[in-house]
């Protein structure tokens, strides 16, 4: 959304500021697109959407959304820790 807004603002400024002003805006957008912060936001969004889609898929498949039985808490937590370890190693 922010990118679209920035593009629109850039477009308007470009049309008012002439070709030079427009090129400055394009350069600024490219700098934003190449920044670590922007890539961080993209990675976070991908992770969030991926997790949400997996949850939705689980629900569509009718997989249990209930909490584990109290005797299964340890197994559930260890599975979560395994996923976190996998995510860490795949990210590194």
């Amino acid at each position: 959304m922010g990118i679209v807004l920035a593009f629109a603002v850039g477009w308007v400024m470009g049309s008012r500021g002439g070709r030079r002003g427009f090129e400055d805006v394009v350069d600024a957008l490219q700098a934003v697109g190449e920044s670590d912060e922007f890539h961080g936001l993209l990675d976070a969004t991908k992770s969030h959407v991926g997790f949400a889609l997996k949850e939705i898929a689980s629900q569509l498949n009718g997989e249990s959304e209930e909490l584990p039985g109290l005797d299964d808490v340890l197994a559930r937590v260890k599975a979560m820790m395994g996923r976190a370890g996998g995510a860490t190693s795949s990210a590194s």
């Binding site: 949400a52 909490l67 109290l70 559930r76 937590v77 995510a87």
Partner: protein, 176 residues
Amino acid sequence: MTDPAPPLRRYTIANERSAVLFAARSNMGPVSFGTTEVRGSIDALAHGATIDLSAAPGARLEVGMEPLTSGNSLYDVELHRRIDVRRFPTTIIELKGAEEASRSRYHLTGAVTFHGVTRELSGTVALSFPRPETMSVVGEHAFDIRDFGVAVPSMLLLKIFPDVRVQLQLEADLAQ
């Protein structure tokens, strides 16, 4: 003159066989965070498969908040930020009282210190002895994270609701 109560015996938490799960709801579905970082001990007088309450049992548990994970590093970062794990790395549970609810079930009262805030909570646990020198405790309790001064976490499109259920599965071995 009555005989003095026999001394309590100490059971040390086996953290490789113990875990705590915090189960929350979000607008995207359930989100759970768990840890096996549980330390502490339970002082009690076992009598067969039950606890002799003539000697008041005690317990102190420490749950490490830093290893708390959902399996999704993005959610973990947000949770750790909200509960400020750097300032409050440990949640402490201290048993204050115990009453027998039914056979092998006990109604417990205790003080919980989470996020630097101490509240008195009560709930029921089931207790058993899977082996003669090993005590097993399982229980569940629901609370509102705002009672402990934690703001409701939200990020991108995800919003986590404040009511959280805590599930506890512990095993403790008789100290030598």
